[in-house]
Amino acid sequence: MPTELIRILISLVAFAAAVGLIALVMVWVERKVCGHIQRRPGPYEVGPWGLLQPLADALKLMGKQLVMPDQADPFLYWLAPILVFVPVLLLYLPLPVGDGLYALDINLGVLLIIAFAGFTGLSMILGGWAQNNKYALLGAARTVSQSVAYEIPMLLSVLAVCFVSGSLNMAAVVKEQGTWPWNWNVMTQPLAFVIYIVSALGETNRAPFDLPEAESELTAGYHTEYSGMGFGMFFLAEYANMIVVASVATVLFLGGWQGPVLPGPLWFLLKVSLLVLLFVFFRWTYPRVRFDQLLNINWKWLMPLAVANLALTAFFVKVAQYAFVK
């Protein structure tokens, strides 16, 4: 047991470092991509091609004064930014980055991720509530209904894949898929993949579903009053969450680290990057949906489709068992 604990601790430190670094790269990618979508170069002053810009931004955020509004709840106010970031690191534990390259070989890996992902919503609610700001309160209220709603179709689409693979162990799910794209789960479960991606956008509050922080309505939503690293932590968690949902999609639908020629971790990184790039494209090309529409998409479309998909999958899995396994 102690060796496993040590392994987890070392991985957590590694994840913390990796998430920080990846988030910096992500900020740069997001700003560069957004710049080119908008016919402007994006950051290019700090470092070559503006590569050091996110670092400068991070330093600026750290140097800023941490302000807390009057009548805010100090304990909850400072707890929220920490609570939003720390559980995100735990989400990386069961992710198999390469063949045998994971922190925790756990049979309920998928469940662990889904369970801990709920923490993000919780800390947003705490932060929004503790600020004693009406905009933040509205943002927090939106977070509740949004994350509760979108967790369900996400879970259902993930379950469909687990039915096919017959395991909740992420490494096993990857192993079960083959090297080539037509062996991946996205081929057998295309609907689940689409449902997953849409719910992932809703779950991570990315545009066009960024309602908890819709700045044209709620100024900055749930993090209105946070300054400096208080805001920085929410910001970091958003990117970390994006990478988690993209990684889970890669593992469950896109064959994880499997792929021809290139080594496993590289394939994993490539697939995650492509998905994240897709999220970035969504953000800079679509308007924001309205709140009732957001919930309608979920309850009227995603949910019935996900349930139908799950039922069909279960049925076919059972039939297949009868036909071939006996």
């Binding site: 957004c34 979508i37 908008q38 016919r39 402007r40 009548q71 509530w129 004693n132 009406k134 905009y135 309160l137 509205l138 209220a141 939106r142 545009a207 066009p208 960024d210 819709a214 700045e215 044209s216 309505e217 100024t219 953000r283 800079w284 090309t285 679509y286 308007p287 924001r288 949906v289 309205r290 709140f291 009732d292 529409q293």
Partner: protein, 388 residues
């Protein structure tokens, strides 16, 4: 519960207190503005919310009051022209025209034909710039970040064109009593000729990528339905009333300058919602391009300023008059009274944004907060014009 009680102890100012008196039980009163991203300046809207629904909304104005009307009483007519460019930074040239036109009507000054055409060309270019500004900012309100960059790309071209004759890029003081400050030179005319096909190629692209986007359509279709009666009661003009099917355009219904000689359509929409107002503005840009093109074809040679044009110390003759032009946001009216003295006696500015805003309180009742923002944006408000 205790936290909400804490919130209520912060009573707010006069407006908030009075607004709170009629609040229903358990509602949340929220200040949108004066510093808020979607009020485009310093408009303040008090809203009473029940969850996400707006129970009541009340605009509070005056945060950008700059006494333009009072300043008219301490200035001569020629000195007052720069004020006009600052009333509405979006469509400054229309305000130039409204004031200068009123003075000319009162003094009976005849403007040279070429100057009339130059006025129409610059005014219409400025109208396109104004609509582009609205388009980008409105989509920003709806959460689409990218269109404003494309809109500003086109707007930049217009500002570059207008820069050469007017010497300004935003707050134009280009018109003079009896003409315009400077003629359009050959380079400028060439640039305008090049701009027209460019803009014509851009408009279908905007339609394809933005106007027909399903999320955008769901956000603006059926949102903020203004019955024609509502527009009439509040005196709404411009694209707001034309979006409700009222085909009222000052350029056609109270013609001035050379507009009767020009062939253009007044676009209207029977949709009456934010989509209708959106479509009207997009179509107006295309119509403005047609107007500019036919102006360039018809434009005669000659002076652009009448001989013996008024000097700064010139006195407006005794009398009273009213002159209206069609601005980007609606009917711009100037009521000018002069007692024949050095300064004008009284100038009343009728700004379209003020009337258009006044229907917001009624139109936003019962909508979602996001819809209220969409309605506010669809009115195309310019805050300095509301407060004057």
């Amino acid at each position: 519960m205790t936290r909400n009680a804490d919130m209520e102890q912060v009573a707010g100012d006069f407006y908030a207190e009075n607004f709170a008196k009629d609040a229903s039980e358990g509602s949340l009163i929220l200040n949108l503005g004066p510093q808020h991203p979607s009020t485009h300046g310093v408009l303040r809207v008090l809203v009473e919310l029940d969850g996400e629904y707006v129970l009541r909304a009340e605009p509070v104005i005056g945060y950008l009051h700059r006494m333009h009307e009072k300043m008219a009483e301490v200035k001569t007519a020629a000195q007052y022209i720069p004020n006009m460019g600052r009333v509405d930074y979006g469509h400054a040239i229309a305000w130039n025209w409204a004031f200068v036109g009123a003075v000319e009507r009162l003094a009976g000054i005849e403007v040279p034909p070429r100057a009339e055409y130059v006025r129409v060309i610059t005014c219409e270019l400025n109208r396109i710039a104004s609509h582009l500004l609205w388009w980008g900012a409105y989509l920003l309100d709806l959460g689409a970040f990218t269109p404003i960059m494309y809109a500003f790309d086109d707007r930049e071209k217009i500002l570059d064109i207008l820069q050469s004759p007017t010497g300004a890029r935003l707050t134009f003081s280009y018109f003079r009593i009896g003409g315009v400050a400077r003629d359009l030179d050959e380079d400028c005319v060439k640039a305008i000729r090049e701009f027209i096909p460019w803009m014509r190629s851009r408009l279908p692209m905007y339609k394809e990528f933005v106007s027909d986007n399903i999320i955008l359509r769901r956000r603006i279709e059926g949102v903020g339905v203004f019955e024609p009666d509502l527009c009439r009661r509040y005196g709404a003009t411009g694209p707001v009333s034309r979006g409700s099917g009222l085909a009222y355009d000052v350029r056609r219904d109270e013609p001035y300058s050379v507009y009767p000689k020009l062939d253009f359509v007044v676009p209207t929409s029977d949709l009456m919602d934010a989509r209708g107002r959106y479509d009207v503005r997009m179509e107006e840009m295309a119509q403005s391009l047609n107007i500019i093109e036919s102006c360039l074809d018809q434009m005669p040679e000659g002076d652009t300023l009448v001989k013996g044009a008024p000097k700064p110390s010139w006195k407006v003759p005794k009398g009273e008059t009213y002159f209206a032009v069609e601005g980007g946001r609606g009917k711009i009216g100037v009521h000018l009274v002069s007692d024949g003295g050095k300064n004008m006696y009284r100038v009343k500015l009728r700004s379209p944004s003020y009337s258009n805003l006044s229907l917001f309180a009624e139109a936003s009742r019962g909508t979602l907060l996001a819809d209220a923002v969409a309605i506010l944006g669809s009115l195309d408000l310019i805050i300095p014009e509301i407060d004057r």
